[in-house]
Each structure stands twice: as C-alpha cells, then as structure tokens.
Amino acid sequence: MFEIGVEHYLFVSAFVFAMGILVMATKRNAIGILLGAELVLNAANINFVAFGRYRVGGLDGAIAAMFVIVLAAAEAAIALAIFLNFYNNYATIDVDQADTTRG
C-alpha cells in the first residue's frame, strides 16, 4: 500500500488512457478531440517513465518520453491549423458537419 511500485503508475495511466479514448469518441468539438489525443499521449508517457525507472534503468524512458512530447507539440500545431481551415470552410467546429464526401 505504501510501497509505490510500477503497477501503481500503470493503473493511473490505464485510467487516463481510457478517458482519452472516451473523450476522442464522444466530443463533437474538434478541439475536444485534440484534448483526448493529449490525454492518450500523456498516459503513454507515464508508462515510458515508470518502466524506465523500475525495469529498464538509465535514461531510455525519460528520453523516449521527451520525444513523445516533441511529437505532441507538433501534432497540436498541425491539428489546430487544420481546424482553423475547417472553420473557414464550414463556419463551425462541429466535426459531424464534415460530411461533404459521404457516399
């Protein structure tokens, strides 16, 4: 109980990952979907650092997590540029309105 091991961190990150999936599936605002993606990336990062601390050792976990943060920043910038373009074309940020190519 008072000995914090790798499984405690895995439990928290599993919850955050599931919430990220839920947010991505239920939000209709495009920026809400981006929030869900950030939650999923954070859950993965906690797993990287926890395994690096308890099982692998060295700097591997922390540096992998740092590259994930770089990717998350790049992804957020591109996603927001796409959303601004979407807003210019459809005058809304509701992703359910993007059905132009529906068969």
Partner: protein, 169 residues
Amino acid sequence: MIEAVIFYISAAVMIVSSLMIALSRNIVHAATWLLGTLGSAALLYFLLAANLLAVVQIIVYAGGILILIVFGVMLTARNPYMRFQPKRGEVLMATLVALVIFASIAGLSLSHAWAVLPDGAAGQPARIAPVRDIGVALLTDYLVPFEVSSVLLLAVMVGAAYLARPEKR
C-alpha cells in the same frame, strides 16, 4: 511514506481531472481541467526521478500546448460557451469501450508480478540523472531521433503556416 502520500495526491488529481475532461460538455472547462492532468503528470515525473522531463512537461504542455488550445477555442467559436450534444447511443457505446479498455489494461498490469531492477526496487530512492548526462545522451546515443525530430519540427512549421494562410482574394 512521503513518496506514497505525494503519489496518491497527484494520482487522485490526475484521475479526477481526466474524468472531468470527459464529463464536461463545455470546451473551455475541459481545457482548464487538462491543466490539472498535465500538472499532476509533471508531479509523477518528479516522483519517478525524471526531473528534467517534469520541467519540460510544464514548459511545453502547460506553457505551449494549452495556450495553443485556448487560442484555438477562441478563434473557432463565435460563442465560447457553445456546446454540441453527442447522441445518447454514441456516448453509451464509447463508455462501454473505454470501460473494457481500462479494465483489461488495469487488470493485466495489476495481476502481473513485474520484475524490478535491484536498485529500482519499490521504496528505495532512485538515482537522479543530471541534466548534463541527458544532453550527452541526446547528442550521442539518440543522435538520429534528435536530428529527425528537428527536421519534423521544420516540416510542421512550414505545414502549419501553409495550412493557416489567409484565403486568396
């Protein structure tokens, strides 16, 4: 003991704030709750002896990505408090999927007996790597991903500027 207290506090903050992101229908509130998730993730990195990573998390996420998201909310909403209701069936299905994912991952990670490093065993303080070692590792062992990520950032900069350019008249 003190480590356990800090862990449980930040884990509770993380769980509550990520749950509130999923529950809040207002995008501004969800973005505010994201700050709690990111801050408690930084606390967890401190507990895991990744000090530089915790500082990078605060600078890049709370200082950069969250500001970007709030800007996106302000630029794309005529009324910042507007809300879109998802369909009831969709919410039910997504909740079921999230529950199954959470139960399977959490059950697996709690039931497995993880072998730990001898010096990384629970209850013992970890060795905190100095920032100098991380810099040396980035420029020797991890040189290829480091250079690839610099090219990626350049491509992202060009791509974002191209996508968000004003319309031609």
